[in-house]
């Protein structure tokens, strides 16, 4: 997996799309909410990441029924979901390892 580990903005974007398809503004707001306002992406950063994820077929454009106001929704592809699961698994492993090491050090 060439793009693993993921950067935090990309991870948050993928997590935002994991639940449901979203358009750009909705992704930005969700990322902001998930990170408690710590990660606030600009449109330039967001669409740079979306372009890369689209090119790698981790996400795809999704035709909404209400596609007014130039909105375009995105959703995860099976490949994107699989890679997100891999990344979350990797992070889980790291967290478990870190907890073990910290516990041993503390004992």
């Amino acid at each position: 997996m060439e793009f693993l580990p993921l950067t935090e903005p990309v991870l948050l974007i993928l997590l935002s799309l994991a639940g449901q398809p979203r358009h750009g503004y909705s992704i930005l707001k969700d990322v902001e909410q998930m990170s408690d306002g710590r990660v606030m992406l600009s449109t330039g950063t967001l669409y740079g990441a979306l372009r890369r994820l689209l090119d790698e077929e981790w996400i795809e454009r999704f035709k909404e029924q209400d596609s007014s106001r130039g909105r375009q929704a995105y959703r995860l592809t099976a490949r994107g979901r699989r890679n997100l699961q891999l990344e979350v698994g990797r992070m889980k492993h790291l967290t478990r390892l870190a907890n073990l090491r910290i516990a041993v050090k503390g004992a």
Binding site: G24, S42, T43, G44, Y47, R69, G70, R71
Partner: protein, 177 residues
């Protein structure tokens, strides 16, 4: 409103294909964010402005760099003419070169006529030849203008029908099957 106009201009920093693909969406999202920041006071608006400016400039540089990066095979050549790009470019170089060539031809003809005029007549001037020479310049000019215009019209028709080389290249898939 002013911010939106600036943002639209800033999007020109991106490669044309990227703008075509995401430009309108980015403007739509920017509009929503701008409306939201307007309700939060001056500081929030300033932070928003700085973040968006930095994001667009950094994003545009990244995309430009990526487009360049795709041509890395050709980096040891002065590359532009070797690089296929499926994006629209007006043939500026061709137009400039054709104009320079046309100017060169006109100057050469004028200079030739001047030299001819300055030469002493060793023999009596030959009357019937002179009108033939003076008719050459307009004829050449007309011919060049005709072919130039015909080429331009042909290209415009192909462009309008979306059958120009640019469009056909644009339809070409660059992704491996």
């Amino acid at each position: 409103m002013f911010g939106l106009i600036l943002y639209r201009h800033a999007l020109r920093l991106y490669p044309p294909l990227y703008r075509k693909r995401f430009g309108e969406e980015m403007v739509a999202v920017f509009r929503e964010l701008q409306a939201e920041s307007a309700t939060k006071g001056m500081i929030a608006q300033s932070v928003f402005g700085v973040r968006e400016t930095a994001g667009v400039v950094a994003g545009a540089l990244r995309e430009r760099w990526r487009v360049r990066g795709d041509d890395s095979v050709w980096l040891w050549f002065p590359t532009r003419r070797f690089t296929m790009r499926n994006e629209f470019r007006f043939p500026k170089t061709t137009a400039v070169l054709m104009t320079i060539i046309l100017a060169g031809v006109v100057l050469a003809i004028q200079r030739g006529e001047a030299i001819q005029g300055s030469l002493p007549y060793a023999n009596p001037p030959v009357g019937p030849i002179h009108p033939v020479h003076s008719a050459l310049l307009p004829g050449v000019l007309f011919g060049l203008a005709f072919f130039y215009a015909a080429g331009l019209i042909g290209w415009a028709i192909l462009f309008a029908l979306r059958r120009s080389g640019v469009h056909r290249l644009d339809e070409t898939s660059v992704q491996p099957k």
